[in-house]
Symmetry: D2
């Protein structure tokens, strides 16, 4: 399904080289101040522009088409829409039957019997994350004063991120990275015991971001190498404050009031300038793929604000479920 959430629910739509992309946000409390300008800071963080990002230029101005009156949310569903303006669908015509390795091209072809929009990945494109970022802006307002902040920790295994990207550009290759997101202050008690653990919900949404291949909380995979006496966080206040935070702010699937910490592994962009081995999907002929199109060398550079959005969306839902957020904002 292209929708997610219980009380704060988002439904995403659109294609990379179609008319546009967007998101319907259902369940937002009424009365929240919301203006198109409020989105620009986060949207800009997702925009390409630095070396290592695509040369495609989209203004990404959010059109709020419903759910807002006089710059306040009304409580009705909010549709935020982004027109595509810098499409080059023709870049993809000759690759139509040549699936890019590591991309959704092949699976989309099989899943939808060849009717899928193949242009630039269509509905599978990273372009849709612009809509997620927009929903994240609304979510961040809802969960305020809690703050969600993400950063790129490393690229290609190196903390010298720019160097790793530069080398990949030089080698006509691409490179992955690790993005970390932290959220605080959070009330204890968010999340549900079993299937709706905080980790379950956040990982669900984070793995929806194209290119993510791993998600971990707190010390994550490193926990597997630790002893209980190292990994357990001593409790030092009645309210649940712990001396260390190996758990990343989550015990038993529920927030414990400490900082929430989640990391995501981003794979290298599959679209690379180097020639690659593929097959013609209709004829079965072996082919060497030489990509035209405009692509990111390191998509991880643009992931932090998307990861923030995913985490904020889940937190908004959980805080509404836990009745930590009023359904009607006070009039200011």
């Amino acid at each position: 399904m292209n929708s997610f959430g219980r009380l704060f629910r988002v439904s995403i739509f659109g294609e990379s080289h179609g008319q546009g992309v967007g998101i319907v946000i259902d369940g937002s409390p009424a009365g929240i101040p919301l203006h198109p300008e409020d989105f620009l800071k986060d949207l800009k963080r997702r925009l390409p522009g630095t070396p290592g990002t695509t040369s495609r230029q989209e203004p990404d101005y959010p059109e709020i088409k419903s759910g807002v009156l006089e710059n306040r949310t009304t409580g009705a569903p909010i549709l935020i829409y982004f027109r595509n303006t810098d499409c080059r669908a023709e870049d993809y015509e000759e690759q139509k039957n040549l699936p890019r390795p590591g991309h959704a091209d092949l699976v989309a072809f099989y899943k939808f019997g060849g009717f899928n929009d193949f242009r630039g990945g269509g509905h599978f494109s990273g372009r849709l994350t612009v809509a997620l970022v927009a929903a994240g802006v609304v979510a961040k307002k809802i969960i305020s004063p809690a703050q969600v902040e993400a950063e790129l920790l490393e690229a290609g295994g190196s903390r010298d991120i720019q160097k790793a990207v530069d080398r990949a550009i030089e080698e006509k290759d691409s490179v992955g990275g690790i993005v970390e997101c932290r959220a605080k202050p959070l009330p204890p008690g968010l999340g549900e015991p079993f299937f709706d653990s905080v980790e379950s919900l956040i990982s669900h949404l984070v793995f929806a971001i194209p290119g993510i291949k791993g998600v971990e909380f707190g010390d994550g995979f490193a926990c597997s190498q630790m002893k209980g006496s190292e990994c357990n966080d001593p409790i030092i206040s009645k309210a649940g404050k712990t001396l260390t935070n190996h758990a990343g702010g989550i015990n038993g699937g529920i927030t414990n009031g400490n900082e929430l910490v989640v990391r995501a592994a981003v794979k290298p962009t599959p679209s690379i300038p180097r020639p690659q081995r593929t097959m013609n999907l209709r004829t079965g002929e072996e082919k060497v793929l030489r990509l035209s199109g405009r692509h990111d060398t390191c998509i991880a550079l643009r992931v932090p604000v998307v990861l923030e959005a995913a985490v904020a969306i889940v937190l908004a839902d959980l805080m509404l479920i836990a009745q930590k957020i009023p359904l009607v904002w006070r009039k200011i």
Copy 2:
């Protein structure tokens, strides 16, 4: 919520030291042969008994209370119930107000205002995974001939798993591990483009298993250190077969027909014999916790069959959604 799934839906209930635990399985096709004996092999794999596992002894015989007639599923919801027989609720009475570090005790207290069943973690206990394993047995039948197999790759960072566990026992400590699960053959096309990617759904369910702190697919976190030319899997057949499988059988959130590979990081059991620092939840007094109760030194030893169940449950749901499974089994 304590339920999960769209067409194949499970609802879990029960407590560690209450009357029992169980699961309602809704949406199973009709006509599947199902007998209590069918569960025993997987249930036995989850049972303790080897060094490093708890001394609690539960027979874990599944009572099928609905949805089955003459050893065939009827299409109605299947309730599978496990009585608790070897409870020692009194082990927990004196720890009632002393949350175990790394455990759900504290968050359960705050979330449910002190009304939670505190005995051995109550509803948050790993005991509930017996119900998940039972649902997994049904799911495995549904997705057959696809096979799901998991194993413990390492404990405490070491491939010599028994040695790592023995040392932890000796040190009155506990140890984590990494479990890997593989599934094949799978049809290409399972999963949905955005929020219901295969990774989203599997991670959702895997993070519901107590003690999991990280989930990765294919090369996972290692992808973040790779170049696109290394990470991309060359396509070598029209049907989607790839030369390598760094993607773990998933592109764009959709199965590509290659083997599905997922790994989970299991943290060390938080309940350890060593004294630990905690607080009395009601008085705020600092306390040293000395645990009685019977606990696993390495819970990861018992996770493989639980991880298989989680993966099989998601695959059963996705294969029903993709119409890869008939809703009525042929009469044999």
Copy 3:
């Protein structure tokens, strides 16, 4: 699906002549006093015993198997189970292939390929409403001080209900009826604008009760014959109080603070002593069906408490969504 609700969610299971029936209640606030005795009054109202009801005798004692500790809800899922004790599965053996007209026998056979539990309707039986009544008891506690009360208005078109039933018994026939349910006091603002209107949700659950063929709110079908000037309820207080209540307490799908009024049309029990025309499902042979088994002459006599349960379950969910109910009960 055999489950319903967003925050207060019920999952039903069981068969008429199997081991038992029951319900899992997920999302109940913690701390609500709950004892098996609390269920008896409503369960008794559903029991047969008066002329016009079946001679099957079930004690219907609720076994609370999870989610309650020391007679308080813990916040974890509550399983309430009813054993079947007075089964006579053999009554149904010879009718196995002879679908009762007006019953689910035929559709169950086709839907589940003949694997369905055919004994007394199996999972389709009115027996399952005992589980719904149990969930209703929990829901009523949650929504208190709001009260939900239903009564049988007429049977066979007559207000002299007993007379209508007696005649049907005499004629070896059965008879339908109309049940009305009222709820108050309710806060204004429950329900959602479009797909989750209060009418949508209540009718959804009411039509799940076996035998219901019509549902209306306020003046319902009579509205279709009215003029706007007659049907509109003049607003006489700022809080939404109206002079009349033709709307049944609902405008635009949302409660307006006036009494909620819903009526359900119950069809006559399809199982009647008279011979009826049917077909052998396997051979296609025409047959005359002469029913053994024990059946109600007027099932509508037993519907009021079931209708109350359905309405209370929806209201509990809506009041939790609208944050009108605390998630943790105060300790008394």
Copy 4:
């Protein structure tokens, strides 16, 4: 929630006098021919234009913004958008605090704390049904060759519909009606045993249509006055064909293969030219409401095609769940 459905899922948004209204359709099979012209016939049936309908004129041309490529569905979410062009928001400014009796004005004010879009009912307006009709057009294609057809049976209690409407116009009043919808041929076995009965799902969606106060299936409320021997439909073929169809094609909540029959009671339009009693929501002052704005005298005239859409949307979902529809259309 403003979304509905399990596999075929619609999410609605928009306001009467905002920028526009629309719907996201998720889960449509790929490859279905879809062109804006395909919508015009049904959209035109919903348009006003005859006496008794509003003078507001909207071209209602569907903008397909995603999910369609070269006039075929791609399998990705389909957004269909309708711009509002003939708004007169100023008609509503002076009524802003004067709730129209029988309308959602008052409940919207309370539910959303006065932040709701009050102009012409905002998100609660019948204007949104244009989006439902659009989704219905897609659903009708999916369920073909099954046909869904609705008609207005009576208005103001009279079969001479035009006369009833004319009298209401003359009296500066409004009038209700009854709309009936029939669907065939349908396979037996659609729907689920308990909470997702066909009646549950259809009534859920039908009660979402503004102005509906009653829903019945087959003989509906008349069943309550019948005897079992009259109401039961004799089974005359192995495939489930019945001699009569009092059940309206549904037994035990499941389609039995006979024609599905549902009727909806439409209340008289609450907006009438006559003066009405109301209150100023902010001051509590009693007021006489004299409506400007353009309204329908008999909204029931425009309901048939909306009812068809609701029924078709549910059937599309149920037929996908029952695997009666291929997920990929054959290329023609």
